[in-house]
């Protein structure tokens, strides 16, 4: 999925937005802890993580609604840590739309043009019409925002944020209040608009699937700092930590002691079995403690390598596939099968389908 969309090769675009060693402390909690990130010009960058991981605070620090306790926030290399939000050239879209209820749709979209001339030297009315057209709401100027559907409101909010021509678009869980179908539809639309305008975008979500689907790059946040930053494929296929491995999609994480080391494969003792794990790119010696993961789709039924005898504990029928939970020597495993399963199942995986997360001495 779309990791190629930024430049199409050649040199990397310049950094649009940078956080360096940023911390935000509240009275009792540390919301953001020594966080460093950089987002490139035109990039769609997503912060994903469980609630309380500091992703919203990070967005608020970028927007200027909060000032960092330590560290600096830079826009195109200029320190904006002390700049109030109105002077930052950001567009913000909130989960609850935050449309001004006492203004019409047109007045909402045009509000930011009170403080900046419409980009491109067009008239205010023209700019508002353009933006409404962009979000498929042409002719909605006189409507009352209170009378729109959730999806329409959110598109008005996006148009409003874009109207003054911000350098950076910040979206704080913009889809969470919408139902699943609408969410996927709007997701595609947001991505299309972002590409059309080429605007640097920071997107916040707790939904890892959404993060993978929409982003150029993803930062998985935990306890106020990113655990891993990478393209969606990197995040999914090569998780850097056990947390990332299990947070993004289903996963089976194993750890055990290395018995023997081959050229590309190590033998690892896990729960009384010896499993063969590909270790390309890692220096492994006997006696190391190895943590690795195998995605459910790579745990194949009736495979002969690394075969594990398991018992089905439960199964969920999801339509296209079924998610089957297995018990193996006191551990829980999860696999994907076409049909729900019962009873005893033997599963196994190819050594190269295992991804090594960590090697401990």
């Amino acid at each position: 999925m779309g990791s190629e969309g930024v430049t199409g090769g050649g040199r990397e675009p310049p950094v649009a937005l940078e956080l360096e060693g940023v911390s935000k402390l509240y009275a009792e909690t540390t919301a953001v802890d020594d966080l460093s990130l950089s987002v490139r010009e035109g990039e769609f960058f997503t912060l994903v993580g469980p609630s309380g991981c500091g992703k919203t605070t990070t967005l608020r620090l970028i927007a200027g609604f909060e000032s960092p306790t330590a560290g600096t926030v830079r826009f195109r290399g200029v320190d904006v840590s002390g700049t109030p939000p109105e002077a930052r050239d950001v567009g913000v879209v909130f989960q609850n739309y935050a449309l001004f209820p006492h203004m019409s749709v047109g007045e909402n979209v045009g509000y930011g043009l009170n403080f900046a001339d419409p980009p491109g030297g067009v008239s205010r009315e023209r700019r508002v019409a353009e933006l409404l057209e962009l979000v498929d709401l042409a002719g909605f100027e006189e409507r009352d925002p209170e009378k729109l559907s959730g999806g329409q409101r959110q598109r008005v909010a996006i148009a409003r944020a874009l109207a003054p021509g911000p350098d950076v678009l910040l979206l704080d869980e913009p889809m969470s209040a919408l139902d699943a179908q609408l969410r996927e539809h709007l997701r595609v639309q947001v991505r299309a608009i972002q590409r059309e305008l080429g605007i640097t975008t920071v997107y916040i979500t707790h939904d890892q699937e959404e993060a993978l689907a929409i982003s150029d790059r993803v930062a998985v946040m935990r306890a106020g700092a990113p655990e891993q930053v990478g393209t969606p494929t990197e995040i999914y296929r090569e998780p850097a930590t056990a947390f990332v491995a299990t947070f993004v999609g289903d996963n089976n994480v194993f750890d055990g002691e290395v018995h023997a080391v081959g050229e590309t494969v190590a033998s690892v003792a896990v729960g009384g079995e010896t499993l063969e794990v590909a270790t390309a790119g890692h220096e492994v010696t006997a006696g190391d403690r190895l943590t690795f993961c195998v995605r459910p789709e790579n745990l194949r039924v009736d495979a002969t390598t690394n075969a594990l005898e398991t018992a089905v504990s439960s199964a969920e029928f999801l339509g296209e596939t079924s998610r089957v939970h297995l018990a193996w020597g006191g551990r829980d495993l999860v696999i994907r099968t076409p049909e729900p399963r019962e009873g005893r199942v033997v599963v196994g995986f190819a050594p190269e389908d295992a991804h090594v997360i960590d090697v401990g001495r």
């Binding site: 649009a16 010009e41 035109g42 608020r60 927007a63 200027g64 609604f65 909060e66 000032s67 826009f75 200029v78 320190d79 904006v80 002390g82 700049t83 109030p84 939000p85 109105e86 002077a87 930052r88 050239d89 950001v90 567009g91 913000v92 909130f94 609850n96 935050a98 001004f100 209820p101 006492h102 509000y111 930011g112 009170n114 403080f115 900046a116 001339d117 419409p118 980009p119 491109g120 030297g121 353009e130 933006l131 962009l134 909010a157 409003r160 944020a161 874009l162 109207a163 003054p164 021509g165 911000p166 350098d167 910040l170 059309e196 305008l197 080429g198 605007i199 640097t200």
Partner: protein
């Protein structure tokens, strides 16, 4: 209600705007990174940029400036004057001493038998004598005693009203519910006139009793009439807060209890009642605080034999005994704040915030069946209604009636007296027209000052930052301090004048009255504006900021339009409170040309009840009309 501001849900607020400098890294605004179509660049922005920057700078500082202005006004018109009075009680002949206080505490005149304990006698012995022998309450004790009785009476009269308003549906229920705010803004001196017209020797009550052949009773200058007048003010307050709590009870919680096996009574006791207690206690605490500091009602209806602390403070001020007056006022303040603090502690621990997603359904007031279960409560309500009419309606009606009643049928003699007094009265006599004119002028002035002050304080106290609690307390203190002390402080401070070098800066008497009114009005603006600001979705404000609006612009464009009904209500309150203000005006109004309507009524009430009622009607009309006009100007109904 002036106290007990909801410490509602916490929000992450930006606490920087006004202190930030514009110069720090302003970025060129409309130059975009976009590649095509929708936007290009706007090169002509630089020329506008500078002008805009200057304007932005002013705007950004506007909130800060108004905060500083408000602080200055409070300092000059409240804290400094009050301090000059309080200082009298601790500085005698240039040396700091607590002797004034100690004398006060040991004086049985003020503290009754408690004074003997303060003087060193054994508390046990004093307690035994107090219980079984002669008891002496003293002024302070009596004030607390009447406040406690007033509180009981107000709760007793307020709860049935709350029950009816919360649980029954009938024609005019909403109007009646809104009317419970009315007593709060009625000038107390006018209410006193109404009570004199109802319960006096020739009042309505005796008229009614005479018809059924019962002898005349004279309730004037008795504790009973004072308590009734206090209930007139505070029972609606108790009812109001209780109804609000009752309406926020979620019906599904009650239904859950019933489905788990609770009888209707158990469901009430276990689910509804616990959510009502905090509200009832809040009403009771506020009633105690208000009635502890009562002044015009006791002055007009009780006389000096029923003197409360505040009346005595006034008496001492008139005797120019400022030291003792200030010490007594401080004692009063300490007791009031003590009760308030105890209540707030309780509230913090027991606040039940029900979501009230689905309020309890109301029953029809007209019985649908003739069963005992349907008829009995409604018979009780009918009985209560008779009492309520006498306590809440009769005083106003009687006042209007008395103003046109003569010995030989209806007459306009009392109004003619006012007109005649206007035409021929001597300079030292109270003339009606200047009183009306002054009342309106002072109220307009007080409104002009207190509205911006109240909005500024609301903004300051609804943002989150270190020291917010302190700002809250400093801004709300004027509600707790005796109006007489504020008045005398203003009289001796700004009115007498400040020495600045060789120049004497003095504030005219009328200006001082406006100032005193503004100080007593703005807390009501805060009360109506701040909750709205607190409830306003923070992301609306943040959206406006992100779109380029300064903090001030966001306030003007987004927040104030959304809470406009609250602002209008605050203005209406401020106007009405100023119209009826008595305590500080009576101290500050030095000549007849500075009299307001309440002062004129007080001057009339002792000698001529007729003209007093006529004047009271004029005050009632002017207050009601301005209340309605301000409300209409706002274009929307207020939702207090």
């Amino acid at each position: 209600m002036p106290t007990g501001r909801d410490a509602s849900h916490e929000r992450e607020l930006l606490a920087e705007a006004s202190t930030r400098s514009v110069e720090s890294g302003e970025m060129s605004r409309p130059v975009g990174s976009q590649r095509e179509g929708v936007k290009g660049n706007a090169g002509d922005a630089t020329a506008n940029g500078r002008a805009r920057r200057v304007r932005d700078g002013l705007e950004r500082r506007l909130l800060g400036l108004s905060a500083v202005g408000t602080a200055l006004i409070l300092l000059v018109l409240f804290y400094y004057p009050v301090w000059t009075v309080f200082r009298e009680s601790v500085v005698v002949d240039g040396t700091a001493t607590l002797s004034v206080f100690l004398d006060l505490l040991r004086d049985p005149f003020y503290f009754g038998d408690l004074a003997r304990v303060f003087a060193g006698e054994s508390p046990l012995a004093v307690g035994r004598e107090f219980l079984f022998g002669e008891r002496r309450l003293g002024i302070v004790g009596f004030t607390a005693y009447q406040a406690a009785l007033s509180t009981l009476l107000s709760v007793a009269l307020g709860l049935p009203a709350a029950y009816v308003l919360a649980r029954y549906e009938f024609y005019g229920r909403r109007t009646l519910r809104s009317l419970t705010i009315l007593p709060f803004v009625l000038p107390s001196i006018m209410v006193a006139v109404g009570f004199a017209a109802t319960f006096g020797r020739t009042g309505t009550l005796n008229g009614a009793l005479g018809v059924v052949g019962l002898g005349p009773v004279d309730l004037m200058f008795t504790l009973e009439v004072v308590l009734l007048a206090h209930a007139f003010y505070n029972a609606p307050l108790v009812a109001r807060v209780t109804v609000a709590a009752w309406e926020s009870v979620d019906a599904s919680a009650v239904e859950t209890a019933r489905s788990l096996g609770a009888s209707p009574f158990r469901a009430f006791r276990d689910v509804i009642a616990p959510q009502l207690y905090p509200a009832v206690l809040m009403g009771a605490a506020l009633t105690f605080i208000f009635t502890f500091g009562t002044f015009p009602i006791v002055l007009a209806l009780g006389g000096f034999q029923l003197a409360t602390v505040e009346v005595f403070v006034y008496q001492l001020v008139r005797d120019l005994n400022y030291a003792e007056a200030a010490a007594l006022a401080i004692v009063e303040l300490v007791i009031t704040l003590g009760v308030l603090y105890a209540y707030l502690r309780y509230e913090a621990r027991h606040a039940v915030r029900s979501s009230g997603a689905r309020p309890l359904p109301r029953k029809r007031l007209v019985p649908t069946t003739r069963s005992v279960r349907d008829l009995l409560p409604r018979a009780g309500i009918a009985g209560y209604a008779v009492i309520a009419v006498f306590v809440f309606v009769a005083p106003i009606v009687s006042m209007v009636y008395a103003s046109v009643a003569g010995p030989n049928g209806p007459t306009l003699a009392h109004y003619e007296f006012l007109v005649e007094r206007q035409a021929t009265g001597a300079a030292f006599q109270v003339q009606p027209w200047p009183a009306i004119r002054n009342s309106i002028l002072f109220a307009v002035g007080a409104l002009a000052i207190s509205l911006p002050m109240g909005v500024a304080i609301s903004v300051l106290t609804t943002r989150r930052y270190r020291g917010r609690k302190l700002v809250d307390v400093v801004a709300m203190a004027p509600l707790a301090v005796s109006g007489i002390i504020v008045g005398i402080g203003l009289l001796r401070g700004p009115v007498f004048g400040f020495e600045i070098g060789s120049y004497r800066l003095a504030v005219g008497g009328a200006l001082a009255i406006v100032a005193a009114h503004a100080v007593s009005c703005y807390p009501f603006v805060v009360r109506t504006v701040a909750p709205g600001l607190e409830r306003t979705d923070q992301s609306l404000l943040e959206s406006a900021r992100a779109l380029g609006a300064s903090r001030t612009r966001a306030l003007l464009d987004v927040e104030l339009p959304l809470i406009w009904p609250g602002v209008v209500a605050g203005a209406a309150f401020a106007f009405a409170i100023s119209m009826g203000e008595f305590s500080s005006t009576i101290v500050l109004a030095t000549g007849t040309d500075q009299y307001t309507m309440p002062i004129a009524i007080e001057r009339f009430i002792g000698r001529r009840l007729g003209p007093a009622t006529a004047m009271g009607v004029v005050l009632l009309v002017v207050t009601s009309v301005s209340f309605v006009v301000i409300d209409r100007l706002g274009g929307e109904s207020y939702g207090i």
